[in-house]
């Protein structure tokens, strides 16, 4: 019988051979996909998701089993991604990046910034794959984008998203409502 994620995590904590590889193989695609949805860059998404696996390896012993393993791991992963976004934002501010200004509803400059260099062929493929509505999702704040991604793509319930993002369920509802409201407004403006 196949081991559950929680059993594998405990085996990782006990440094049982093969447990970590099995867990990484089980979650690698989801981890990379979620990371990419947030950071929007292939190499950064690889780095973030691998960082999350490394933290999982180091912190497996602290998994108490009170939540699902997936919720616990997504929390590590999303924190890695948001930390990276914050660092990028910090560096850009440090070198005089234009701030959002007086328009609180205006798009975050970090979100509008061109992604770090990647293969032009990849970028073209990405453009072709990405619908207009997802291009608008990319202009949302990282927290709203994470909430939409976890909700729509990964099918997480509001309480699980709250656990992943370390916020209340009410805050997740606000993120989702504002995200969808912004998307509707921008799609309406373009129509």
């Amino acid at each position: 019988m196949e081991s559950s994620d929680e059993e594998l995590c405990r085996a990782v904590a006990e440094r049982k051979p093969g447990a970590f590889d099995l867990l990484a193989e089980r979650y690698q695609e989801r981890a990379y996909r979620i990371a990419w949805s947030i950071v929007r860059d292939r190499e950064e998404a690889k780095d973030c998701s691998q960082d999350a696996f490394i933290r999982l390896h180091e912190a497996a012993g602290s998994f108490a089993g009170q939540s699902k393993f997936s919720t616990w791991f997504y929390r590590i992963l999303v924190n890695c991604c948001l930390d990276r976004q914050r660092r990028r934002r910090g560096w850009r501010r440090l070198v005089g990046w234009r701030d959002r200004g007086d328009d609180p509803d205006g798009p975050d400059p970090v979100e509008q910034a061109a992604a770090p260099f990647s293969d032009p062929a990849d970028a073209l493929d990405t453009e072709q794959r990405m619908s207009r509505v997802w291009a608008l999702v990319n202009e949302l704040s990282p927290q709203q984008r994470a909430a939409v991604t976890l909700s729509v793509r990964e099918g997480l319930a509001t309480r699980d998203i709250a656990a992943v993002l370390s916020v209340s369920e009410a805050t997740v509802r606000v993120h989702l409502h504002r995200a969808l409201s912004t998307l509707r407004r921008r799609l309406g403006d373009e129509a």
């Binding site: 193989e25 690698q28 990379y32 990419w36 691998q50 990647s118 997802w134 409502h177 969808l180």
Partner: protein
């Protein structure tokens, strides 16, 4: 309470995630509010579109991905927890040490300290030691400095005749 808009609960209501009593409250409000009903329909349609059109990330070779992950883990393990802790802040320590050295070297008050000699007094002492040589400048100018170093050392013992 059913006349209060329930915008932020509409996503959860559409996904069937609301528990009682919120579910009944939202249902009661939707029964009387056309605006919230329309918003709920728009959100439902938008979420369906997002699900249908979700972009695929650029492909990754998973074997290479796991090999890279394994390599990163091993490098971390090889460093060990203690060395890892020591090595990570090393660049910060080096930078801090350099800055401190530069500040100390460039700030005379810090180098000198309260008990150190005043550099101006030191200059005066050197000048005073050379006063004799300045007084006998006419002799000094006629000497080859390297060959007649002894003469310079004994300037004060020279007879008055040779002073002129």
């Amino acid at each position: 309470m059913s006349d209060v808009h329930v915008d932020e609960l509409l996503v959860d209501h559409a996904r069937g995630e609301l528990a009682e009593p919120e579910r009944s409250r939202v249902a009661a409000h939707l029964a009387i509010c056309a605006e919230c009903r329309a918003t709920r329909e728009r959100y439902t349609a938008l979420m369906a579109e997002l699900q249908r059109t979700a972009p695929t990330p650029p492909s990754v070779h998973w074997g290479a991905y796991r090999a890279e992950l394994r390599d990163r883990l091993e490098r971390r393990g090889a460093a060990g927890p203690v060395w890892g802790w020591l090595l990570r802040p090393a660049p910060a320590f080096v930078a801090a040490a350099l800055v401190t050295a530069l500040v100390v070297a460039g700030w005379p008050g810090i180098v000198r300290g309260p008990g150190a000699p005043d550099p101006l007094a030191l200059d005066n002492t050197i000048l005073a030691s050379q006063l004799d040589m300045i007084a006998r400048l006419d002799v000094v100018q006629r000497l080859d400095l390297l060959e007649d170093f002894n003469v310079i050392n004994e300037l004060d013992e020279l007879p008055e005749a040779s002073k002129s």
